[in-house]
Point group: none
Chain length 235, copies 2
């Protein structure tokens, strides 16, 4: 039994799993180790950015090996990862808007919606695959409720009240959720049966999810990092 896997040179899925794993580890080291350079007020946000990529690093380690062993989508681990990291991203929205007086209820609402989105998505993708369309629809509704809340709802008002660099960071994160997160439903449609069969059939679900994760987790964290940089140089 070898301790290390051997992958085919053209195994692009495997390649993205390995690159993703290392990128997440490096990003965690970056966020954790840069904490002390910032004002206390921003450290928690950086810590949470680091936790998000750290959790992903651990799961990519698994998924990498799982792919190498079975050449099969590690859906189970994918969702274990998301069910922890996506709520933490909702916490980031809250932490950024706290300066403008965001209440915990905003955070809990976003967390609740994200959990609904992921649990129903898991049921459709892994457990009740022939009902993938219905579960995907419910999941999509929860997704749009999140989009609404941050783009037009309470979170938006708080961001405007805060203004300046906070408003700018919030806007960027909103684009991540609207465009970056939209990668996932595409992966879902590429990987499950439904009316959308002909459209996304040629794409590989795992490559899509891996690219999405790298953009969303590391990019999200970097937005928070930039905010901390601009706020700390202000003072």
């Amino acid at each position: 039994l070898p301790l290390v896997a051997k992958l085919a040179p053209d195994d692009y899925v495997g390649f993205t799993f390995f690159v993703g794993c290392m990128a997440m580890m490096a990003a965690s080291a970056f966020f954790f180790l840069s904490m002390s350079s910032f004002d206390k007020k921003w450290r928690t946000s950086l810590l949470v950015s680091g936790l998000i990529t750290f959790i992903a690093a651990v799961h990519y380690w698994y998924m990498r090996d799982y792919w190498a062993a079975f050449e099969e989508s590690p859906t189970f681990f994918r969702y274990v990862d998301w069910v922890l990291t996506v709520p933490l991203m909702c916490v980031e929205f809250f932490l950024i808007l706290k300066v403008a007086g965001a209440k915990k209820s905003l955070m809990w609402r976003l967390i609740f919606l994200s959990v609904v989105m992921l649990v129903t998505g898991y049921l459709g993708e892994a457990v009740y695959r022939d009902q993938a369309q219905i579960w995907g629809l419910i999941s999509g509704i929860a997704y749009f409720a999140i989009v609404y809340d941050i783009w037009l709802g309470q979170a938006k008002k708080l961001a405007e009240a805060a203004g300046g660099a906070v408003l700018k960071a919030h806007k960027t994160l909103c684009w991540f959720v609207l465009v970056g997160w939209a990668i996932y439903p595409i992966g879902y449609m590429a990987g499950t049966p439904g009316w959308y069969d002909g459209i996304f059939g040629g794409l590989n679900l795992d490559v899509i999810y891996n690219i999405g994760d790298a953009i969303n987790k590391i990019g999200f964290g970097l937005v928070v990092y930039s905010l901390a940089v601009s706020k700390s140089s202000e003072a």
Copy 2:
């Protein structure tokens, strides 16, 4: 032999083991890395919170793999974990109340009671299963002695003497012990034979214990974290 486990999509027990493991690791990173943001007086409490989730993370790593390999309750590791983490929670009570002059004897009394509770519980759950009711009863008495001490006994008086944020944190932790810890005897009754057979039979012992652990270990730590936050912003 693959390096990684393969779980059935609807293996919810396995799912909670994996989510629990990762949540404990992330919580440990959070508590350890946030220590430096606080006043020295509060660092020990945060360190202990981190130790509790760190010990749990290691055991969940085991239990996860144990479950994946044998589809069987890892009772042995469960109690190895508890016998270390529950006394540390008693230490937390002491650390919080130290500002009000808590004596070491309070800490040792709580530790002693928690060890009695766990050793007798283990004997009933793992060794002498047909006497599960009697061992559970002794364990329950020790549990109520802890509840009495913190809710009405010496610990309560100290908390009232301290007042303010300390009293509030103590109260919250008391609720954790009364309600959050009560999850465990329910799991015990669901998993052992006794007069209670018909009542909790449908529940799964491991899912219950896993949810209980996440609430009690991470939640407990977050209460201490909030106390440190409110005390540090005061100064």
